[in-house]
Amino acid sequence: MKNWRDFTSPSTCLRASLGYVPAVLAIALVGYAIIAGGFFVSLTSFALIYAIFVTGLNIFMGYAGQASFGQNAFAAIGGYTSAVLTTAYNVAPVPALFIGVVAAVLCAVLVGYPTLRLKGHYLAMATLAIGLIVYEITVEWQSVTNGYMGISGIPPLGIGSFEAATDREQLILLSVLVALCMGSAWLIRQSRFGRALVALSGSEDAARALGIDVARYKLAAFIVSAVYAAVAGSLFVHIVGFVSPEVFGLNMVILGFTMLYVGGIGTITGPLVGAIVINLLPEMIRGLKEYQDLVYGAALILILIYAPGGLAALGWSKRRSTSPATTTVELRGARTQS
């Protein structure tokens, strides 16, 4: 994370260190939940699952600068594959998870390949559509998904004879997985691959001029984000033991974006911080739960308007120059310079 920041002045250095505070607090909270157990555990479990989901979104959006509004589809594919395979076909959770991931990847290729070479709103709408389609399939394909009733009796996660049956074991397992997922995201960000993603989000033209196959890298990032979403979906059904179409609705997407913006888009720990804040807040404030989607929708809009870099970036990240004049000159440059 260090080289993301500008360390030229002591004050930015101090503020950058302060940037670690939420992450440290988040990790401390997870630790506390593991030790204390009880009420915090299920809450923290959801937060951790969302952290994985949002980390995937972050790779596609925070790094590559693209947006997918259908990540819930991949979560649903992962979740339902796990649910169906483990309950109806007695497949073990881990292979089921892998099959779900493969299905999500295939779906991502099918949607991403034609749309990622086109202008952004095609991708946006195609991804939104895929979220809806998968939702409809989960409702309509009753013989497999049991429609609105959903599937229950999904076994807890386990490898071989070990089963993470207690809350605490599950939480420890999730913590390890979150660490793995975030570690992978960090490795990606530090690599040639990750740099190419951030580069194309900065300027597609410049990236192409330096030999980066932009369409291919976007597709790769889309697939990676789908993998994360599928893993999150699969973990979710194992932790809860139940799945229904509503679990992976459109509000999951909005929630994911809100977490990403609250935690800090493009950062490694942002998804974890955002997921924990957004999951804990409704529990802290009485009555918020019912209006949750409303509040988060409004919060997201306000953040987009007033803190486009995300709440975490408030105050210490230099904004990209998006002043009107810059855009004007770019327009003019495109049109009249020759």
């Binding site: 993301w4 990606i188 040639r192 691959f193 580069a199 300027s203 330096l210 990209r320 020759s338």
Partner: protein
Amino acid sequence: MNRLRVENLTRRFDGLVAIDDVSFTVPIEGVTAVIGPNGAGKTTLFNMISGFLPPSEGRIFFEDESVTGVAPERIAGRGLVRTFQLVQLFQSLTVLENVKVGRHVCTRAGLVAALTRPTWARREENETERRARELIDFVGLSEQSDARASVLPYGQQRLLEIARALAAEPKLLLLDEPAAGLNHDETDRLSRIIRRIGEHGTTVLLIEHDMKLVMNTADRLVVLNFGRKIAEGTPDEVQTNPEVIDAYLGGVEMLHG
């Protein structure tokens, strides 16, 4: 052999001819500049050479191989790298990372290597880092190497963009108005850097308005006006060419006549 050969290149936009039957060659040695008044078609020419715009007619040869209609990223892979008129840095990357991205075509680690970090990939990354730091030194940005590109003053952004392009070890470097927006000192410095790039075996082709820079750095000039080539030659030859002066100032006969 020459580095670049452009044959009868033409580009039309909705009936408007931006580049009209232009041919020229860029030799392997030295710095060649394309000059011409506003609207002469210089950037259109660059966009075609670098693959961002398909020509309507004509062909482009890079080291005697046709690159007409080849995608920009493939052209870059062959060793032809460009910069942009309005600096196009990767704003959220650091100075060092920007230059590292420039090494893209010289390296091959992908997603799997990123996650598994095999020895060869680590070695490759170390080499990338070393080369990137060298180039940052070369353009004099060592002190800012960990700063985000977006916080650099404009002059330094220009230099960074050039360092990033050099990281790809190009055989031919296309610079689109490198001095635009620079002050006199910065222009002087840039001109020295361009000379040194040219002396180190990289062919340089640049578009420029700043006459001072062109006269100081270019070995050869190609002059465009209304999309046509009206002159080419050494700076001295071109400077005294009446047609060139005319192109820059407009209808002289109207002043006198």
